[in-house]
């Protein structure tokens, strides 16, 4: 197994004046499960394809282990790929599909058999080994594609949205299985996805990309609780973080945030940082996660300085939780996530309080988080 290092990697296509991937620097540790996430066209798949050797690197150095592999063909990079549009070899049965790569590499028959049967056992497809791909379901085909990668015992697994062709239930199941598998095989995995649930649940570290640039690379916990900018804050988390534009002012020694329908006090620690950075008297953007707005009387009683009123436009009861779409705070509607047992109904005017210790404050111009997380 090995780590992967990307040093100042750029990708520029002929005829295009803008690079698709810009100055990507990443040090992926051996056995790490790294997830690349971002919206369509952010450069995550291109980055993975460069690591795979399917795209030429325009600038920069790519290392797998200690070796620079910029000019090494995919087959010689000791990697295995599983892509969204995985294709099996249609005229070979499952066993042959899994064994073919090893056969090409001149592995001994016994060794091939051992590896194929072991991988089939891990993936629970032992009973399918004689079947042709045509006779398999989507989920079973996906497992075979994974099996074909596993038997190679590569230094690095590359996966590009491998679950996106599966239905929601199967996707959840396979998500857990891939995570288990990565731990069991103790191998480095680089995984590309659109899906932030996949990113948050599978990755040891998540890299959020936008317009070819890495926005933040951190553990799921840090990414969620300490997003570096508005983009990351809005991209990670569903429903998305609420953003409310307003002013910061100082009143009787306390720092207050004021916006349409909202006048709340910033806790002392955060207030000091805002003062030190010169934000008093300036416009900023307040970020509040839906779950950090509370309607329980106990919380309202304990947080008199962060109470606000709002009108419930829509309520969605998901059983274990309820989403309230609220009007009257800031310019746009905000979403609060409250307990599923709440009696709140659409059309009601209600009082909520913000957990001010969990707020985020973003610079209006640079969109950077004022409270940058420091390791």
């Amino acid at each position: 197994m090995a780590g992967v290092k990307l040093e100042h990697i750029y990708k520029k296509y002929a005829g295009s004046d803008k690079a698709t991937v810009i100055d990507v620097n990443l040090d992926i540790q051996d056995k790490e499960f790294l997830v690349l996430v971002g919206p369509s066209g952010c450069g995550k798949s291109t980055t993975l394809r460069m690591i795979a050797g399917l795209e030429e690197i325009s600038e920069g150095k790519l290392y797998i282990g200690d070796r620079v592999v910029n000019d090494v063909a995919p087959k010689d990079r000791d990697i295995a790929m599983v892509f969204q549009s995985y294709a099996l070899y249609p005229h070979m049965n499952v066993y042959q599909n899994m064994a073919f790569g090893l056969k090409l590499r001149k592995f001994k028959k016994d060794d091939i058999d051992k590896r194929v049967r072991e991988a089939a056992k891990i993936l629970d497809i032992e009973h399918l080994l004689d079947r042709k791909p045509k006779a398999l379901s989507g989920g079973q085909r996906q497992r075979v594609a994974l099996g074909r990668a596993i038997v190679r015992e590569p230094q690095v697994f590359l996966m590009d949205e491998p679950l996106s062709n599966l239905d929601a239930k199967l996707r959840g199941q396979m998500r857990a299985e891939i995570s288990k598998l990565a731990k069991r095989l103790e191998t480095t995995v680089i995984y590309v996805t659109h899906d932030q649930i996949e990113a948050m649940t599978m990755g040891d570290r998540i890299v959020v990309m936008k317009d070819g640039i890495i926005q933040q690379a951190a553990s799921p916990d840090i990414l969620y609780n300490h997003p570096t900018n508005i983009f990351v804050a809005g991209f990670i988390g569903a429903p998305t973080m609420n953003f409310i534009e307003g002013d910061l002012s100082e009143q009787g020694g306390a720092v207050r945030f004021r916006a349409t329908g909202l006048d709340v006090e910033v806790p002392a620690g955060k207030a000091q940082a805002l003062k030190d950075k010169g934000y008093i008297g300036k416009k900023v953007i307040l970020g509040v996660r839906p779950e950090d707005m509370h309607e329980e009387p106990v919380f309202l009683e304990a947080s008199p300085n962060s109470i606000f009123s709002a009108h419930v436009e829509v309520s969605e009861n998901l059983g274990h939780e309820m989403l309230l779409y609220l009007n009257g705070v800031g310019k746009d509607s905000v979403i609060a996530r409250v307990d599923g047992r709440s009696n709140t109904k659409e059309g009601q005017n209600i009082k909520l309080a913000i957990d001010m210790n969990k707020i985020h404050v973003f610079d209006k111009d640079s969109e950077l988080n004022v409270f940058q997380y420091e390791v």
Partner: protein, 373 residues
């Protein structure tokens, strides 16, 4: 380097178009006489406004001639070509003793015959029976599945015919033919029986032949991208008998490759039966295309926005289904509806209606091949 590669290099270096014609040894002698060339060993002659270079003596008895319009060549260039051909022939002779297998030689012979007949063209191709002199002819009588492979990988020059042939042979597990065509372009032929081998015992065999062929193409692409050089392009066509219809098949595959790469730039697998509309649009002259866009759209820049393009492409791919498109794009259904409404406001075209959807689909395809200011 193959003969085709040498020819392509020469064309690039000299900025001229060369063609290859075949003639018998006797015809060559009589051409020499007509051109008043006394030296039988002469490598070139000038006749009827063309310079003919004696290029290659093939495995059969024919001589292949490289021809160039004489007014396109200076004396020095002509001498230089003679020298290059001489060196190339010498190294071919040496190479054939050392490495080139007889299979490779036969494949090269067929590739050169195809090149002689087609050059790089793909339209207006007339079929012609393979001549008896083609070594592979007797093996090309059964029905076969044709693939066209194009790879522009920078490491291509380091790979050999044998390496790719071996890989294909172990993949298909039986008779397979790898025919080098132009530089970076190969024709692959494999037995049609392979299609039947994809059927499972328990299957009812209800799959359409095109679906089965597409799966084969995807499988082969997977193999080549994982086990060969990576990025490549593949086109496939319906099974055919190479001895009878090889030229039209190569023409169709080349056209498919061209259309697929022009209209679907992110695709690597190109299927002729998926490109009917593209074929039609490609045949419309550029001026008429532009005229159409100008008439239909008041603002021609609307569809240049990447977000609009991605949205519409996904929407059409999923048969204009709003829910499926929203899911595919990872956006809320309302966001998609908002985007579609915005397009309607800006263009006057509502892609949720059949007529407007057809117009927008046509415009999107036209955009890809129309020169715009």
């Amino acid at each position: 380097m193959t003969d085709m590669a040498t020819k392509s290099r020469l064309e690039k270096l000299l900025g001229v178009t060369c063609s290859v014609v075949a003639c018998s040894e006797t015809e060559w002698r009589s051409m020499q006489e007509s051109a008043d060339v006394m030296n039988e060993q002469a490598l070139s002659i000038e006749l009827g406004g063309k310079v003919y270079f004696r290029w290659h003596q093939k495995v059969g008895s024919d001589v292949e001639l490289l021809t160039v319009e004489s007014d396109r060549l200076t004396g020095a260039e002509r001498a230089l070509i003679e020298w290059i051909l001489q060196s190339s022939q010498l190294s071919n002779k040496e190479g054939s003793h050392k490495s080139g297998s007889s299979e490779e030689q036969r494949a090269n012979q067929l590739g050169q015959w195809i090149h002689g007949k087609l050059g790089g063209q793909y339209t207006g191709v007339q079929d012609e029976e393979l001549p008896e002199s083609i070594g592979l002819k007797s093996r090309l009588l059964p029905s076969m599945i044709p693939f066209l492979l194009v790879s522009e990988h920078p490491q291509l020059t380091h790979t050999t015919y044998t390496e790719l042939y071996k890989l294909l042979k172990s993949y298909f597990g039986g008779e397979v033919y790898l025919i080098p065509l132009e530089e970076k372009e190969w024709l692959i032929l494999c037995a049609e029986e392979l299609l039947a081998s994809a059927e499972d015992r328990e299957e009812d065999g209800s799959e359409k032949p095109e679906e089965a062929l597409a799966l084969f193409c995807e499988g082969l692409y997977e193999l080549l991208s994982n086990e060969w050089l990576g990025e490549c392009h593949l086109a496939i066509s319906n099974p055919m008998v190479p001895a009878h219809t090889l030229l039209s098949t190569v023409g169709l595959l080349r056209e498919t490759m061209y259309l697929g790469r022009a209209f679907h730039v992110t695709s690597n697998i190109h299927l002729p039966w998926m490109l009917h509309m593209e074929r039609l649009i490609n045949s419309i002259p550029d001026g008429v295309r532009r005229q159409f866009i100008d008439r239909v759209l008041s603002r021609s820049d609307v569809f240049l926005d990447p977000e609009t393009l991605t949205t519409l492409e996904a929407f059409f791919l999923l048969d204009c289904n709003v829910s499926d498109t929203a899911k595919k794009l990872y956006i809320h259904r309302n966001t998609l509806l908002y985007r579609l409404d915005k397009i309607k406001q800006e263009t006057g075209l509502d892609v949720r209606t059949f007529g407007d959807a057809v117009l927008v689909k046509l415009i999107l395809l036209l955009y890809k091949v129309t020169k715009r200011k």
